[in-house]
Amino acid sequence: MNITKEKIGEFLVLTLYGRVDTNNFNELEQAIGQVFEADEKKIVLNCSGLNYISSSGLRIFLTALKKVNAMHGTLHLCSMQPVIKEIFDISGFSTIFQIFDTQKEALE
């Protein structure tokens, strides 16, 4: 898995590539943890490169969401591949996350 960071306007955009599974979800957890340590409150997770996510990965998303909510920030997800979108739909996570089709919409 690869993660790139980019600051666009008020948002910090993290773009995820590859898989998030039981073996490497810690990397995502650490990356997001660093973002909070840096006191970023507006975060976009661009999922365009993400092609698999396990329940462990979903847990990291959820933890991030809870943290953002606690500090009154925003967490936007965008550009999901259909397989990922389906997982979010099945698990009902689509209802609790703000998911956008494109990064541009997520930044507005």
Binding site: S56, S91, G92, I96
Partner: protein
């Protein structure tokens, strides 16, 4: 075990050094030998030449005055009118004045002095210290036919006779020099007689036998005829000529040499004499036309060189032996630590990391090796210690995990058919655990005599946390379900309990259903779980519609809904966890919803147990032996409905 690592290395180095030295030595010695041999030959030849010339000079010093004396007296005899008797005085005088002369005759032609008649040859010789004088010629001694007279008379030139032993006296070797003289009549001259001078040759023998060349080289004088005048072999002297000797020895080469000598030539020849190859140098004695020859064995010429060479070889052999010894000692000493290193490495392999290393004081590669080795020992030691502790910790954890798994698996019902008395339904379920402890669960039980409660769930993540969460979920379900027929109420209660204090945000996707086995009414709540598959008796399938409900354990105030579905007779439910649809092959290709549907459709008429087995086999076919990474949980229920009604 004694290692021979340095010995073989040392012997290899010694071998290379020795080979090179030997090669160098052979080349040097060959060059030295070749040039020295040439030099030595030249020197010996020069020496032979010089000593010969010197000997010739010495003999000439004695022989040439004889010629002069004869010439002087010849002049007196020819130019003065001398009385016949005064000739006796002259012969006496010649002997008296010249100690080397042993006899002297002045022999006249017959009737030169009328008064002396046919024979007149006054002769003086030494006898016991005195000089004796008498007249030689007589009818018994016709001197005109003797060689000493006849030859110079006929050739009209001075003549040196062949040497001979003096018959009268002390057996001394003598040669006679004869010179013709004439009587003058105005300008005309006529042969008048011969002056002879006898010379003893003891001195010649002395001079020639004193010549030494190399070890056994010698000199020899040969007369004009080739007779050996002097020779170290006494039996040859005056008995053999070079020609007779040549035929005796069957050596034609020697005969050729003899001829060259007679011609008065000078030169070097090598020939085999008496079985030894010898070098011969010969040159004429100018006054007598005799030959002086020096002979020396060729082998002796190079004897000193051979001695030096042998000494050199001996020294070099000793040198090489010393070199071998020293080089092997040096190399052995330099690499001796390697043996200890090798031993240490063996010890390290046996797990002993504190083996003593050789003490290296130098600051070379060996020191570098020593430091690296020491470093390796320390690192390995620490690493092994660490490994030991982590391994034991891991073993402990693994055994605990195994127990946890056993406890977990013990919690789910595994007796099939579970309700043999309940004819309206049949049910089968499996949980095929992954290697690691996972968090899948299924459960079913009867709430009362006609309500079947069943559930399937999947806890986020894996390992002990997931299995604990699963256990909690299952226990909560069992405690909440009795007396409650609303799935929404149960799930909401479950969610509240699980969300409270769930700092780690674990969650569980959960499907809960309550089936009224008499009416076929199914009430269900789906908290983010994969939608179950509904299989109709005609083989068509459909997924349950998605709810917008999230997994339980996340937000305690989330409100879960409840849905209702009417099952027809022989409808089948197929519930599963994502371990099924997300089973991966080696290329990370997922089993997928579509394959699941295909497989279920293909076996829609099968019993629940068989259906689950078929799906499991199809998944196994898909993953092709790739290790199962997630629990595989399947639960299938067939609704037969009221059998009595059906039979009506």
């Amino acid at each position: 075990m004694k290692l021979n690592i340095n010995r073989s290395l040392a012997s290899r180095i010694v071998f290379y050094v020795l080979t090179f030295c030997l090669f160098l030595f052979i080349i040097s010695l060959s060059v030295f030998y070749f040039f020295s041999k040439k030099q030595m030959k030249e020197m010996t030849y020069n020496y032979a030449e010089a000593i010969t010339n010197n000997t010739v000079l010495k003999t000439e010093l004695i022989l040439s005055p004889i010629t002069k004396i004869a010439n002087n007296y010849k002049w007196i005899i020819e130019n003065k009118r001398l009385s016949s008797d005064s000739i006796f005085g002259i012969t006496r005088k010649i002997i008296g004045n010249n100690p080397e002369i042993v006899g002297c005759a002045i022999a006249y032609e017959s009737f030169f002095f009328k008064e002396k008649g046919r024979y007149f040859a006054p002769y003086s010789c030494r006898e016991k210290g005195n000089i004796k004088t008498f007249q030689l010629g007589s009818t018994e001694y016709e001197y005109f036919v003797m060689d000493w007279y006849q030859i110079p008379a006929s050739i009209q030139k001075p003549y040196w006779s062949e040497p001979y032993f003096d018959t009268g006296g002390a057996n001394t070797l003598i040669t006679t020099f004869s010179m013709p003289f004439y009587s003058m009549h105005g300008k005309e001259k006529s042969f008048a007689g011969v002056i002879t001078i006898d010379v003893a040759l003891d001195w010649l023998t002395d001079i020639v036998s004193s010549v030494k060349i190399l070890e056994t080289g010698y000199a020899s004088v040969l007369s004009r005829n080739g007779t050996f005048v002097t020779h170290p072999k006494k039996e040859l002297m005056m008995n053999q000529t070079i020609f007779s000797y040549a035929s005796e020895m069957n050596n034609p080469e020697l005969r050729t040499i003899g001829r060259e000598m007679q011609k008065g030539k000078t030169g070097f020849v090598s020939s085999t004499l008496n079985g030894v190859e010898r070098v011969l140098y010969y040159t004429p004695l100018p006054s007598s036309n005799w030959t002086l020859a020096v002979v020396f064995p060729k082998s002796e010429m190079f004897l000193p060189l051979r001695k030096i060479t042998v000494a050199l070889i001996f020294l070099v052999v000793i040198g090489l032996i010393l070199l071998t010894f020293i080089v092997s000692r040096i190399v052995s000493r330099q690499i001796s630590p390697l043996e200890i290193f090798a031993k240490s490495a063996r010890e390290v392999a046996n797990g002993n990391f504190n083996n003593k290393l050789p003490d290296i004081k130098s600051k070379d590669e060996m020191k570098h090796l020593h430091d690296s080795f020491e470093h390796m020992q320390k690192d390995l030691s620490t690493y092994i210690e660490h490994l030991k502790s982590t391994t034991s910790a891991k073993e402990k954890i693994e055994s605990e995990l195994r127990i946890a798994r056993e406890i977990q698996m013990g919690m789910i019902p595994k007796i099939f058919p579970p309700f043999p008395n309940l004819s309206e339904i049949d049910l089968f379920a499996t949980l095929q655990p992954a290697k690691e402890v996972g968090g899948d669960l299924y459960d079913f039980f009867l709430i009362d005599d006609k309500h079947l409660c069943f559930a399937i769930g999947d806890v986020s993540g894996k390992g002990v946390p997931a299995s604990l969460f699963m256990a909690v979920t299952r226990t909560l379900l069992r405690s909440l379900a009795p007396n409650q027929l609303s799935t929404a109420v149960i799930v909401n209660a479950l969610n509240k309990s699980l969300s409270a204090g769930n700092e780690s945000n674990m969650f569980v996707t959960f499907f809960l259903g309550i089936l009224d086995v008499e009416s076929g009414i199914l009430k269900y709540s789906n908290a983010g779980h994969n939608p179950p598959l509904l299989v109709h008796p005609d083989g068509t399938t459909e997924f349950f519609e998605l709810t917008k409900d999230i997994p339980v354990g996340l937000f305690d105030d989330f409100d879960y809904g409840e849905k209702v579905l009417n099952l027809s007779k022989n409808d089948k439910l197929f519930l599963y966890t994502d371990g099924v649809t997300e089973a991966e092959d080696a290329e990370e290709k997922l089993y997928s919803d579509q394959k699941l549907i295909d497989c279920v459709r293909a076996h829609f008429e099968s019993q629940t147990k068989d259906l689950i087995r078929f799906v499991a086999e199809d998944i196994a076919l898909h993953v092709k032996g790739n290790q199962q990474s997630d629990d595989l949980t399947m639960l299938s229920i067939v609704y037969y409905g009221n059998q009595d009604e059906g039979s009506l």
